[in-house]
C-alpha cells in the first residue's frame, strides 16, 4: 500500500463512536444511554463537576471498563469487547504517574520499548517530544527531582511519544498550581496540532474548555447534555443545565415577565426594552457574570442596584457578589474594583448578551 493511500485510508475512517452506551453498577446508573461521535484531529472536552461521569466515560472509551449496554466503534470497527492492550491509546491522569526508579528519558521511552522499536529511533522520538514539553534538560533526572509541573509534563510526553490513535487526558492539570495550569493549558492544543489522533480531555473547569477550544460535551449526573463546537455550546446552550455546567463563576438566573417589548425581573422593578422575538409570558433569564459590570458595555444596558456581599479580586479582574431582591448575584468586571462589604452599588447589565429560557428550561432566544 502506498503511504499516500494509507494516510488517505486513515483519514476516511478515523473516528470514535459511542452507540447507546450505558453503564450500570448494581441498581445505580453511572452513564445513561450515550451517543457521541468524535472525529479525528479533534480535541474533545468532557466538561462537568466531580461524579458527572467523565472518568467512567473515558475508561469505556479506552477499554479499561466495559459498558453494560451499547457499542463502541473505532475506525469503523466494533471494539466493544477489545482489551485496552490491543487498542492504540494513551491515558494521562490527574495524579502524576511516572516510574520512580526510571529517569525521565526511560519514563518517556517506556511505551516504545515494549513495541520493539530500535534504540536510535527511540532516542530520536524521545528527544523530539522532550523538546516540545521543555524537558530536554531533565532527561537524566528521576521524577522526584522534578517539580509537579515537570512531572506532569513527563507523563504527557509518555502519552505523546507513541503514535496513539486515541489520547485520553483525565483532569491532567487539576493538581498543578494556578500559574503552571495557565501555562500548560496554553501549550496543550499546540501539542496536538499536527497529530492524526482523537484527544479527549476531561475537566471540571469551563475556562479549560474555552482556552483549549475544539469540541465540548457538557455532562451532568452521567448524561451528556450537549455536544458541539466549544464556543457554540458556550454561547448557545440548548438548555439551562448545559448553561449552568458551562459557567464559572455560576450563571445568574432570574424569573422575568415579557409584555410587548418590555422585560421585567419578577423579583423587583428592574426592566429593559428589547425587540428580541419571543412570545409574551414568563421566562427564566441567564446572565453570565461578565455581562454584569461596574461600567457600561454594549449599546443596550440596564442598571441593577445591590448590596455588596464581597468583592473578590483575582489580580486583573474583580468578582463582586451582591444581593438584589431575594437573590444573590455575581458580577465580573475588568480591573481592580474594590467595594466594601455592605456597600450599596449600581452595576450595568449588558442586555445584548442575555439568554432566555422557557418554563421547561430550554433556550428560546438569546441576545
Amino acid at each position: 500500500m502506498s503511504p499516500f493511500f494509507k494516510t488517505k485510508f486513515k483519514f476516511l475512517h478515523m473516528s470514535l463512536e459511542l452507540k447507546n452506551v450505558e453503564k450500570k453498577v448494581g441498581i445505580e446508573t453511572h452513564i445513561h444511554s450515550t451517543n457521541l461521535k468524535l472525529e479525528k484531529n479533534t480535541i474533545n472536552i468532557l466538561l462537568g463537576s466531580t461524579l458527572a461521569g467523565k472518568t467512567t466515560l473515558m475508561q469505556i472509551m479506552a477499554g479499561l471498563d466495559k459498558p453494560t449496554a451499547g457499542e463502541i466503534w473505532f475506525n469503523g470497527e466494533n471494539v466493544t469487547g477489545k482489551e485496552v492492550q490491543k487498542r492504540n491509546c494513551s491515558m494521562v491522569y490527574q495524579q502524576f504517574i511516572n516510574y520512580p526508579n526510571f529517569t525521565v528519558f526511560e519514563n518517556i521511552a517506556s511505551p516504545l520499548k515494549i513495541t520493539g522499536i530500535e534504540s536510535g529511533e527511540i532516542k530520536n522520538r524521545v528527544g523530539k517530544v522532550a523538546e516540545l514539553l521543555k524537558l530536554s534538560a531533565m532527561l537524566d533526572k528521576k521524577p522526584d527531582e522534578l517539580s509537579g509541573g515537570q512531572q506532569q509534563r513527563t507523563a504527557l510526553a509518555r502519552a505523546l511519544v507513541k503514535d496513539s490513535d486515541l489520547i485520553l487526558l483525565d483532569e491532567p492539570l487539576a493538581n498543578l498550581d494556578f500559574k503552571l495550569r495557565e501555562e500548560l493549558r496554553e501549550e496543550l492544543p499546540k501539542l496536538f496540532e499536527d497529530r492524526d489522533c482523537i484527544v479527549v480531555y476531561a475537566t471540571t473547569e469551563p475556562l479549560d474548555a474555552l482556552m483549549i477550544g475544539g469540541n465540548t460535551a457538557t455532562l451532568l449526573e452521567g448524561k451528556v447534555i450537549q455536544y458541539g463546537k466549544t464556543l457554540d455550546v458556550y454561547c448557545k446552550p440548548e438548555n439551562l443545565t448545559s448553561a449552568k455546567v458551562f459557567s464559572d463563576p455560576p450563571m445568574n438566573i432570574a424569573e422575568i415577565i415579557k409584555t410587548g417589548d418590555t422585560f421585567k425581573l419578577t423579583d423587583n422593578n428592574v426592566q429593559w426594552k428589547s425587540n428580541i422575538q419571543i412570545k409574551d409570558g414568563k421566562y427564566k433569564i441567564g446572565i453570565r457574570p461578565h455581562n454584569i459590570t461596574t461600567y457600561k458595555e454594549g449599546n443596550n444596558s440596564v442598571e441593577i442596584n445591590g448590596k455588596v456581599l464581597i468583592s473578590e479580586l483575582s489580580g486583573s479582574e474583580s468578582l463582586i457578589h451582591f444581593t438584589n431582591g431575594n437573590l444573590n448575584w455575581v458580577s465580573l468586571s475588568n480591573g481592580i474594583q474594590q467595594k466594601n462589604i455592605g456597600e450599596d452599588t449600581t452595576l450595568h447589565m449588558n442586555v445584548n448578551e442575555f439568554l432566555y429560557f422557557d418554563q421547561n428550561n430550554r433556550l428560546v432566544n438569546y441576545g
Partner: protein, 370 residues
C-alpha cells in the same frame, strides 16, 4: 463600680493589638550557609501596623511558611529580629507571644460539641463561666454557628469544621495577631467566596492584626489591604491589589499576579529610553540607571493594542473565551500576549501593535527601573 471595672477591662482586652516589625530577617536551614541559594529567607524587612489585614503571597518554596513560623515563634531566625509593639520577641516561644494560628486543615476535637470546642482555649486560660459563655455565644453568632452550638463537631461538613477552627482563633481576646495558613484549602470551591466574605467582615468587626498566608492570588488580594509578594526567599513587592496590578516592581509580580501575566521581553536601555525591536518605546517612568546585566520591558496583555503602525508581529493563535480574546503574537524578541474584547477584529497573519505608555515599564535584573 465593679461592673464599670469589668467593662474597662473588656475594653482594654479588645485594645490589645500589636504592630509587628521584622528587622533584617534571614533564615537558613543549613548550619553553614554559603551561597544565596542556601537561604530560605533573605533580608526581610516588614512593618505591619496594628489591626491591619495583611497577606503573604507566593508559590510553594518561596519562603512564606518559613516566615510564618518565625513570626509565630516556631522557628528562630538565623539573623535579624522579630518585634511586637517594639518589644523584641525573637527569643520567645509561641505561647509567650500570644498568637492564634489557623491551619489548612481543621484542628478541632471531634468528640466535643461545637460549644466546648470554642470554649476550650478560654477554659485553659482560666476565664470564668459567664465570660466564656458570653464570648462563645458572640463568636458563634458572628460565624453563624449559633444554631449548631450543642451539636457534636464530628457531624459537621469540612467548611463547618473549618469555621470552628476560625472561631477558636477568634474567641481569645488576648492574642496579638491571628495568622491564617491557607485556611480555605478544604472548602468546596463554590463556597469559598462565602468564607472569604465572612473573614473580611470579621476583620472589619474585630480590627485585629491578621496575617493570611497563601499561594492563591484571589485569596490574598481579596483579604488583604497590603499584600507581600514573596519569591525565592525575598520580598519582591509590598502593595495594594491595585499597585500590584498597575505597577509591578519586579518581573515576578508581573508574571504571578494577573491572568494571563505580564509580557516580559528583552530590551535595551539607551540614553534613558527603552529600545525594543528597533523602536523607542515611550514610558512615563524616568530611566536614570542603565548598568544592568539584563534589561527587559514589561507590559500587561490588557495594555497592548493593535494599531496601524508600531511593533511588527505575527498573530499565532487566538483563544476566544466568550468574554474576551487572548491573542498570541510573536515578534523577533519573543511572544507577546494581547487581551482584547470579544468583539475586536483580529488581523490575520501580520499585524502591528503598540503599548500603552502609562503601563510600560523597564526592568533591570528583574527589578523595576524608576
Amino acid at each position: 463600680m465593679l461592673m464599670n471595672f469589668y467593662i474597662l477591662i473588656k475594653i482594654i482586652d479588645w485594645l490589645i493589638m500589636a504592630k509587628i516589625t521584622l528587622k533584617n530577617l534571614s533564615h537558613s536551614y543549613l548550619t553553614k550557609p554559603n551561597s544565596e541559594l542556601d537561604w530560605a529567607l533573605r533580608g526581610i524587612d516588614i512593618d505591619w501596623k496594628d489591626g491591619g489585614a495583611y497577606a503573604l503571597l507566593g508559590p510553594s518554596g518561596c519562603g512564606k511558611t518559613t516566615l510564618l513560623n518565625i513570626i509565630s515563634g516556631l522557628l528562630k531566625p538565623t539573623k535579624g529580629k522579630v518585634l511586637f509593639d517594639d518589644k523584641d520577641v525573637t527569643a520567645l516561644n509561641p505561647v509567650q507571644r500570644d498568637i492564634a494560628q489557623i491551619f489548612q486543615f481543621p484542628v478541632i476535637y471531634d468528640t466535643m460539641t461545637v460549644y466546648d470546642n470554642l470554649a476550650f482555649p478560654l477554659k485553659n486560660r482560666g476565664l470564668s463561666g459567664t465570660e466564656i459563655d458570653n464570648k462563645v455565644k458572640e463568636i458563634g453568632e458572628m460565624l453563624e454557628l449559633a444554631s449548631t452550638l450543642n451539636n457534636k463537631a464530628s457531624g459537621l461538613t469540612a467548611d463547618g469544621k473549618q469555621k470552628i477552627s476560625l472561631g477558636r482563633g477568634l474567641v481569645r481576646s488576648d492574642v496579638n495577631v491571628i495568622m491564617f495558613d491557607e485556611p480555605l484549602t478544604v472548602i468546596d470551591p463554590h463556597l469559598k467566596w462565602v468564607l472569604r466574605s465572612k473573614l473580611k467582615e470579621l476583620h472589619q468587626k474585630i480590627n485585629r492584626t491578621m496575617i493570611y498566608v497563601t499561594h492563591d492570588q484571589i485569596e490574598a488580594l481579596t483579604f488583604a489591604d497590603q499584600v507581600v509578594v514573596m519569591h525565592e526567599g525575598q520580598i519582591v513587592q509590598t502593595g495594594t491589589p491595585v499597585e500590584l496590578f498597575e505597577k509591578p516592581k519586579h518581573t515576578f509580580v508581573g508574571h504571578f499576579i494577573g491572568s494571563p501575566g505580564m509580557n516580559i521581553l528583552p530590551c535595551e536601555i539607551k540614553n534613558g529610553q527603552i529600545n525594543f525591536e528597533g523602536k523607542i518605546l515611550p514610558t512615563n517612568t524616568s530611566l536614570t540607571k542603565s548598568n544592568f546585566n539584563k534589561t527587559q520591558v514589561g507590559i500587561r496583555p490588557e495594555f497592548v493594542n493593535f494599531s496601524s503602525d508600531g511593533i511588527a508581529v505575527k498573530v499565532k493563535r487566538v483563544s476566544d473565551t466568550g468574554r474576551h480574546k487572548v491573542i498570541d503574537t510573536e515578534c523577533d524578541s519573543g511572544s507577546i500576549k494581547i487581551l482584547a474584547s470579544s468583539s475586536t477584529q483580529i488581523p490575520n497573519g501580520s499585524a502591528h501593535i503598540t503599548f500603552d505608555k502609562k503601563y510600560t515599564y523597564a526592568y533591570g535584573d528583574n527589578w523595576i527601573i524608576e
